[in-house]
């Protein structure tokens, strides 16, 4: 026995030394994975360009990121991602060394050390009334040698010490019905003005002593016309507002505590004015701007509070905030669009007629309009002022302009990805030049010689560095053609800005980007929202010559009835093939399992009135659709009313919406959850790409087999239906945050529902449990994550569903002869006989997202990819979530691979897919099968992007990347040579032997 076990051990050791291990070695980082850091659309930017130290700009973004960027290259010095419920209201730099951020609706104030981004202090501000949050860092205001920060938030005015974040004084405005619009601190004085509106027609002004918060004066004056929107301060004691109709400009001055109104109808200023105006918020002395429809008007306020129009333009205009460049001098910048160029002008506030700077910069059309501009000055060698401008474009990109050129740009739209799909790259064509091949061959040999040196431990440190950089910069991986293993693909991502990007999976570079026409603001579509991406055309054997394309679905506005917008984009070139503005809304998009002769997939769009519209609108598509008409169903989940409804198609539309591709539907069934005890919090179906082979024929399953072999060669049949829906409901009381209810009041119910017939196949109640529920559905199992209130821990449960009606297919001879019905098509209306197995385990982490690995044929075992709260991706073998686990598995079960049952799931530090990196603000994990069965591609996105390849059962079907072909080649050559040499020697010897 000992010999045998030794032998087995030896063999195991021998084989395991051949296989790569699951976790990474340090030098393997970056070989197949890449990580990109983004910020999101910049909301506010503050420059820090003092003579000493590095020049930087601090930004806050809509993704709740506060970051310090290098002004020379645009690289991130440091970055903090605040949570999604910690929205940044304002940032500023205090004392030249602290970055002050106000967040969470003005209730949290933090100071970060400017050079390294460490938090210095944090203080929370009290207050209950919801109000505007304003942050003010006065330059020369000190209380006992202490610089202060003035914050207005939640109906209170606070003065906070810069040094330690202590609240020095606070003034309560909560009692009053005041809607504070602005807090003004005239430079050089110890006064603070708080201005706002009360009861829509009353203007109020409070004058406060900045040193102790004492109320000095309170004035109010009524204006019968009422007020609209924001105010714009033009002088320290004068603001400009609009009346409630938006037609009259009001100059409100409160000098010496006396409030006086001056009215000026806009029509008096601008001859052909039309429609109500809007004030563009800015803070430039003596200048403000209003916008009427597409016309921007810049108005100057003279000292006598007279208004005069200085500019009126049809071009899209953005105005920066004021920048004080010297004593009493303020500069500001204006950016205007003109075709392919943008015009940047920098002017002094009190001198409109002269330009300090006038530049034209060529701008890519795919960046859209300038949304925001921030300027900063520097002193040129000739002592004159130079200006640099940071601009935020419509596509959320961030650019630094200096001396008429774009110094750097950041594609920060990639921080807000809505949907991801993949596309194959073009097939490699013939005609590679000989020179290139020779070069490659030489490089190849050189590389392998280096590797050989490394293997034989002859390499010097320089060689090792060269080997490592060669591995990282492998030109193969970023090639623009399809590879044999299917590792190189295009990731097509749709971002919140309405921009579509194609990222190369090899190294993550942007292959193309396109700002979608259909998702840009226009007359017809005021608030376009991008929704989803679908594979529209995936050419393979039928239509190989055509390029693949994707369908982008959007809608105009957040309401359910808003009309939809479609775009078709070629994934090789990034060209928008066509875009459609729909007359109907889009409530559901159902990609059908049928394609036409050009491999365009049929899509059914359901509108808010429950009419189905078929795309593409071709006679061929209609004929295919009508053939399968009676087999197509759809369901809708109304989560606010707690109803799931199933529908079938009835016939062509009638009435005013009559159309060739419009179909009427009828309701078949509905499941009504009792509204007082159950609220739908999660629904999950199997991923689309699991139902169909991505690049294969339609209707083929990626599930490899329908049977599961258990111990002793027994077979159980998986219940594999593509029409299964997992629904999780919680008690209405328990739908709040974790811990807000007692275990007795809360429960969680999990359902498995057949979406064709509405049959509930399985229902399980977890008492004392609470959401949020994250779930993943694959093959015949669903795994979900929730909180167990009784155990005070997170839990993960698995439900596996098996088909009993096929269980009697046990006769080997029948199976050998093919006399079985296991592969014949089945109808869901035949009564299913299912059994479920389930088990629950504790899990340490709370979870942001769950996904499962998917491979081409579904043979490779699966891993769950769990996006943890720490923004990392953890790979957990599905074997840990097997309901057949027992505490003491039998020998047969052990051989099958069943792990002894433990109460909690293990977290193995080596199985973090993201190794040492973090995918900040993790939102989604996508897995795409590579062509190689063992390997799957994983893309995780949030504020950061991360991509890697995974082999859940190790790469059993290919040699590893660092396999030394040169060594193999040399060995073979040496062996062949040795064979020849020994052969001739033996021939000779034999001859001599014979002669003797």
């Amino acid at each position: 026995m000992a010999i045998r076990s030794f032998l087995i051990f030896f063999i195991f050791f021998f084989f395991s030394s051949l296989n790569p291990i699951l976790s990474l070695y340090e030098d393997q980082v970056g070989l197949v994975d890449w990580h990109q850091q983004y910020l999101g659309k910049v909301k506010q930017a503050v420059f820090h360009t003092h003579k000493t130290g590095r020049k930087r700009v601090v930004v806050s973004t809509e993704e709740n990121v506060v970051a310090s960027l290098d002004l020379r290259q645009g690289e991130i010095f440091w970055r903090h991602v605040l949570g999604s419920n910690d929205v940044i209201d304002g940032i500023d730099i205090a004392l030249g060394k602290y970055v002050i951020t106000l967040s969470s609706g003005g209730s949290i104030l933090r100071a970060w050390n400017l050079p390294d981004g460490q938090m210095v202090w944090e203080s929370s501000l009290r207050g209950s009334k919801h109000s505007k949050s304003l942050l003010l860092v006065p330059t020369n205001l000190k209380i006992e040698k202490d610089n202060i920060v003035i914050i207005f938030s939640n109906g209170r005015l606070n003065a906070v010490s810069c040094i330690d974040g202590e609240v020095l004084w606070e003034k309560d405005f909560e009692g009053e019905s005041l809607e504070v619009q602005h807090v003004i601190q005239p430079t050089g004085s110890n006064l603070i003005y708080v201005v706002g509106f009360a009861s829509s027609s009353l203007f109020e002004m409070y004058q406060i002593n900045a040193l102790n918060g004492e109320l000095l004066k309170h004035e109010s004056a009524a204006f019968s016309g009422g007020f609209l929107g924001e105010v714009s301060p033009v002088f320290s004691e004068t603001v400009v507002a609009l009346d409630s109709t938006g037609l009259i400009l009001l100059t409100i001055s409160f000098q010496n505590g006396k409030i006086s109104f001056q009215q000026m109808p806009i029509s008096n200023l601008v001859k052909d004015s039309f429609g109500p105006a809007k004030i563009i918020p800015s803070s430039i002395t003596g200048i403000f701007a209003i916008k009427m429809n597409a016309v921007t008007i810049v108005i100057r306020v003279t000292n006598e509070n007279k208004l005069e129009v200085v500019e009126k333009t049809n071009h899209e205009t953005s105005i920066s905030d004021a920048l004080s460049i010297s004593e009493g001098q303020q500069a500001f910048a204006l950016v205007q669009h003109a075709g392919h160029e943008i015009h940047l002008r920098v002017k002094l506030a009190h001198n409109w007629d002269d330009n300090l700077l006038k530049e034209s910069v060529k701008m890519d059309q795919h960046r859209g309009l300038v949304h925001k501009i921030y300027i900063n000055n520097y002193i040129r060698t000739d002592k004159s002022y130079g200006f640099r401008a940071l601009i935020v474009m419509e596509d959320h990109s961030l650019l630094l302009l200096q001396q008429g050129e774009i110094v750097w740009s950041r594609e920060d739209s990639l921080a807000s990805i809505i949907d991801v799909t993949t596309s194959e790259l073009p097939v490699e064509r013939d005609g590679v030049s000989v020179a290139k091949v020779e070069h490659n061959l030489f490089e190849w040999l050189k590389g392998h010689m280096l590797k050989l040196k490394g293997t034989l431990m002859l390499a010097s440190p320089q060689d090792i560095a060269a080997i490592q950089s060669m591995r990282l910069k492998n030109s193969e991986k970023s090639k623009m053609t399809r590879d044999h293993n299917g590792f190189r693909k295009l990731l097509i991502v749709l971002t919140r800005a309405g921009k579509l990007f194609a990222l190369h999976t090899g190294d993550g570079h942007i292959v193309w980007s396109h700002l979608l026409q259909s998702l840009q603001k226009s007359k017809v579509c005021q608030h376009p929202i991008g929704l989803n991406l679908y594979k529209w055309q995936v050419p393979h054997h039928h239509a190989m010559d055509e390029n693949p394309s994707v369908l982008v679905i959007g809608k105009c506005g957040p309401s359910s009835g808003a009309p939809g917008a479609l775009s078709f984009v070629d994934t090789y070139t990034g060209k928008e093939l066509s875009s459609l503005s729909l007359v109907h809304s889009v409530a559901q998009v159902i990609p059908l399992p049928y394609t036409d002769s050009t491999e365009q997939r049929l899509h059914l769009l359901i509108d808010a009135d429950k009419y189905a519209h078929l795309y593409p609108k071709t006679p061929e598509a209609i004929s295919i659709f009508e053939r399968e008409f009676s087999n197509i169903y759809w369901y809708s989940v109304e989560d606010d009313s707690g109803i799931i409804k199933g529908h079938a198609l009835r016939g062509k539309c009638t009435g005013e919406v009559a159309d060739e591709v419009c179909f009427d539907t009828r309701e078949l069934w509905s499941i009504v959850f009792p509204s007082e005890s159950e609220k739908i919090i999660a629904t999950v179906i199997r991923k689309q790409n699991e139902c169909y082979v991505v690049n294969g024929g339609y209707g083929r399953w990626v599930v490899h087999t329908q049977a599961k072999v258990i111990a002793d060669q027994e077979v159980i049949y998986k219940y594999i239906s593509r029409n299964l829906l997992f629904v999780a409901t919680v008690a209405l009381k328990g739908s709040g945050e974790i811990g807000s209810v007692t275990p007795e009041e809360s429960w969680l119910v999990a359902y498995l529902i057949d979406t064709v017939t509405g049959r509930i196949l399985h229902r399980v109640t977890h008492h004392g449990s609470q959401g949020p529920v994250h779930a993943v559905f694959s093959e015949n199992w669903v795994v979900y994550h929730y909180f167990n209130l009784k155990a005070h821990r997170y839990e993960m449960s698995v439900i596996e569903i098996y088909d009993q009606s096929r269980a009697d297919n046990k006769d080997v001879w029948k199976l050998v002869l093919g006399k079985h019905n296991l592969t014949s098509p089945i109808s869901l209306y035949s009564r299913p006989d299912v059994i479920t197995k389930s088990q629950s385990y504790f899990f340490t982490h709370s979870v942001k997202a769950i996904a499962v690995t998917s491979t081409t044929k579904g043979i490779t075992s699966k891993q769950l990819l769990i996006g943890t709260i720490g923004d990392q991706v953890l790979a957990l073998d599905k074997r840990f979530l097997d309901p057949r686990r027992t505490v003491n598995p039998t020998q047969a079960e052990k051989e099958e691979g069943i792990i002894p049952l433990t109460d909690s799931l293990p977290i193995i530090p080596q199985s973090y897919v993201t190794h040492a990196l973090r995918v900040e603000g993790l939102r989604g994990i996508i897995t795409v099968p590579a062509k190689l069965e063992s390997t799957t591609l994983v893309f995780a996105h949030g504020v950061d992007l991360f991509f890697t390849q995974l082999a859940p059962s190790r790469t059993y079907d290919s040699l590893t990347d660092d396999f030394n072909y040169a060594l193999l080649l040399i060995t073979i050559v040496a062996l062949v040579a040795a064979i020849f040499v020994t052969w001739t020697l033996s021939e000779r010897k034999e001859l001599q032997e014979n002669w003797r």
């Binding site: 010999i3 063999i11 559901q588 059908l592 197509i632 169903y633 869901l828």
Partner: protein, 195 residues
């Protein structure tokens, strides 16, 4: 008689009479042992040979038994998990009896063994040639042949049994079901929470 020829011994001369020769027999040579009755001597000789052949044939027929024991030990060593070692052993255990059995019928060495190693093929060589030299009208080779076949069949059975314990025989329903693709569903449904 020529003068050049002085003497000659004719060993082929079978005549028993010494008188017929001019030279006497060398000392110690007794012609009697050779000089026997032709039929009696050859029969005796043939009987001995047949005996010896039969004995040898039985010996050869029993040879696979040792092989069997050896195989059994190797199989025990290899264990019941599927890996290179156990598969190699099992297949050689299967191949050996098969090729030996082929040799029984044909008795010709006309096979090349591409996939068995040198030691094995030399053994096969022996097996093949094994019953050819003992072919004799008087020797009944049926018994040894049957034993040889039985032992080899036993070896084959052992190999098959080993194959089965390794789980490589498709004797279970699971072996036939696993390759079947899942059944198609007629209906298709899609949808979800409204966008």
């Amino acid at each position: 008689m020529g003068a050049g020829r002085r003497w000659a011994v004719d060993f082929s001369d079978n005549s028993t009479a010494p008188s017929s020769r001019d030279i006497p027999d060398p000392p110690g040579f007794t012609r009697a042992s050779v000089d026997q009755d032709d039929s009696a001597v050859s029969r005796q000789k043939k009987d001995a040979e047949a005996n010896w052949k039969a004995q040898k044939a039985w010996e050869v027929a029993q040879a696979p038994f040792k092989n069997l024991l050896m195989m059994g030990f190797m199989m025990w060593m290899a264990g019941s998990t599927v890996h290179l070692f156990s598969i190699g052993i099992t297949f050689s255990a299967l191949w050996q009896p098969i090729s030996a059995l082929q040799g029984v019928g044909k008795g010709k060495l006309s096979y090349d063994f591409y996939f068995s190693n040198a030691v094995d093929s030399s053994k096969f060589h022996f097996d093949f040639a094994v019953f050819e030299p003992y072919k004799d009208n008087k020797v009944d080779l049926l018994g040894p042949k049957l034993l040889f076949i039985a032992l080899n069949l036993g070896g084959l059975a052992l190999g098959v049994w080993k194959l089965n314990t390794l789980g490589l025989l498709p004797t279970h329903a699971s072996d036939w079901v696993s390759s079947l693709s899942p059944a198609q569903e007629v209906e298709y449904s899609g949808g979800g929470i409204p966008l």
